[in-house]
Amino acid sequence: MADTLLKVTGLQAWYGESHILHGVDFEIGRGELVTLLGRNGAGKTTTLKSIMGIVGKRTGSITFEGEETVGQPSDKIARRGIAYCPEERGIFSSLNVDENLGLPPIVKPGGLSVEEIYKLFPNLLERRRSQGTKLSGGEQQMLAIGRILRTGADLLLLDEPTEGLAPVIVQRIGEIIRQLKARGFTILLVEQNFHFAATIADRHYVMEDGRVVDAIAAADVQQSIGKLQTYLGV
């Protein structure tokens, strides 16, 4: 790995009384597309939320571009250049598509312009004056991804972007994620859909019970398929 962008060491996290992450370790190089795989409840989403600083309590170390972010509030972390697209999408219901896209603050140069985002998601352009909540599931997902591309963030955290979407839209989102990687974005993707993840990622980390238990490079996926099936229960 040439240049480590994000390094997570001994990360533990809690929701109230429940201890969710028990020491997560992994790292991502600049420009990589890495997935976190694992069953429901393995701690994938919590890992993303911990990186973003939106869990109740977290300990351990998360360095982004060499700087420690554990202990910083979420808005400061976002301003460093990490953008999060949550599973529930979090579209602002009282704003329209244009306003939702325009809302996130620019944190660094190098983000996409609104025109480029619309080029990537032509469906959104047609609906630019619609309220965020009046969009279909696929459109909302596109808006949720599109929204974080403008800010110039280097690292995108995508939480199950394909969940509950029709196969053709899943395919479209796969293409877009590949394009984003080609543009130089570093992407940490959480996926249940292993077949989708396998087509786009450079590497996979497997999580179980709040820990990273295995790392599999894309090239080794075929020979590790049996192992993966056991991990994921598919």
């Binding site: 939106i54 808005d75 976002a78 704003l95 809302l103 996130p104 603050p105």
Partner: protein
């Protein structure tokens, strides 16, 4: 939207000719409460923060105005500024603590502060305690505008109201206002996009307090007294009622709500304390049957009429 412009034009013309049909002092009182309700709605309707203590800004600003104009013998414009500045400072102090919590806790903290301010006003020597601060002279505004004349003062109050309303309008439709709406919709999401939600909420709180202060100071200018009623919890409750009756989350709603409530109080004054019962009944009916308030329901009806297919 052109129909909106037409609507505003009609309202402004109505406001300009209103003194020919109604008693100016009544209209001025209604305008003061309308501005107060708009300021309150900035917080509840656009940030989702329900303050139960907004009377502290409204009432205190009245005392500030009265003290500055009467005891310090200053012109009314300085009194108004003092009212706004005092309310803003009070808003900064109480808001900084209150915005750390949401929902019922936020409401209770603001209520607690308002009660403290109320008891301060009962005891403090400059407020006149139970008697209130009476006999505030109506001096010429900017040294030239004769505010002794009710009709002249009406247009001054109308101008103040329009200024406050325009400020709120400008605010809500600015990028800042969009961030506020985003925070109201999904605070965690706004945070993780990089917005320090607390700073935005505090600024909205202070602005709301300052505008409530402008309304309170203007009311003291009109009525020539500042009273305990205006800092009391009942006034905090009334402004909630005005905003709800008119319609939350619409910018004109609270104005309509304020006029309905003030008119009702005026015409039902003969019933004495019974007014409160009637107000309570109306409140219940509105909340149960017209949850969007008068303006919200009318707007819905208008939209349905224009596009019957959806």
């Amino acid at each position: 939207m052109t129909s909106q412009r037409v609507g505003y034009a009609i309202l402004i013309v109505l406001a300009l000719v209103a003194p020919a049909f109604a008693y100016p002092v009544f209209l001025m009182k209604a305008l003061c409460f309308a501005l107060f309700a708009c300021a309150f709605n900035l917080l509840l309707g656009y940030v989702g923060l329900m303050s139960f203590g907004h009377a502290m800004f409204f009432g205190m600003a009245g005392y500030f105005y009265g003290h500055v104009v009467k005891a310090w013998n200053m012109p009314p414009e300085i009194g108004l500024l003092a009212g706004v500045a005092g309310a803003a400072v009070l808003g900064l102090v109480t808001g900084a603590l209150a915005i750390r919590r949401q929902g019922i806790y936020f409401a209770m903290i603001t209520l607690a502060f308002a009660q403290m301010v109320y008891f301060f006003c009962v005891q403090a020597p400059f407020t006149g305690g139970e008697d209130g601060l009476q006999g505030i002279p109506r001096k010429p505004l900017f040294g030239v505008i004769p505010t002794k004349d009710d009709l002249v003062l009406y247009y001054v109050v109308l101008a103040i109201f329009l200024f406050g309303y325009a400020a709120i309008y400008r605010f809500i439709y600015s990028p800042f206002g969009q961030v506020l709406k985003a925070i109201r919709d999904n605070e965690q999401r706004a945070l993780s996009l990089g917005y320090e939600a607390d700073r935005y909420k505090l600024l909205a709180f202070v602005l709301s307090a300052a505008l409530a202060g402008l309304a309170g100071a203007t009311k003291a200018m009109v009525q020539q007294f500042a009273t305990l009623t205006d800092v009391a919890a009942s006034t905090s409750g009334e402004v909630v009622l005005m905003a709800l009756v008119g319609g939350l989350g619409t910018i004109i709603g609270p104005v309509v709500g304020a006029f309905i409530i003030v008119t009702m109080q005026n015409y039902l004054a003969g019933f004495g304390q019974f007014v409160l019962v009637i107000q309570g009944a109306i409140f219940v009916v509105i909340v149960l049957a017209f949850r969007k308030g008068v303006v919200g329901e009318v707007m819905d009806w208008w939209k349905r009429r224009r596009s019957p297919s959806t």
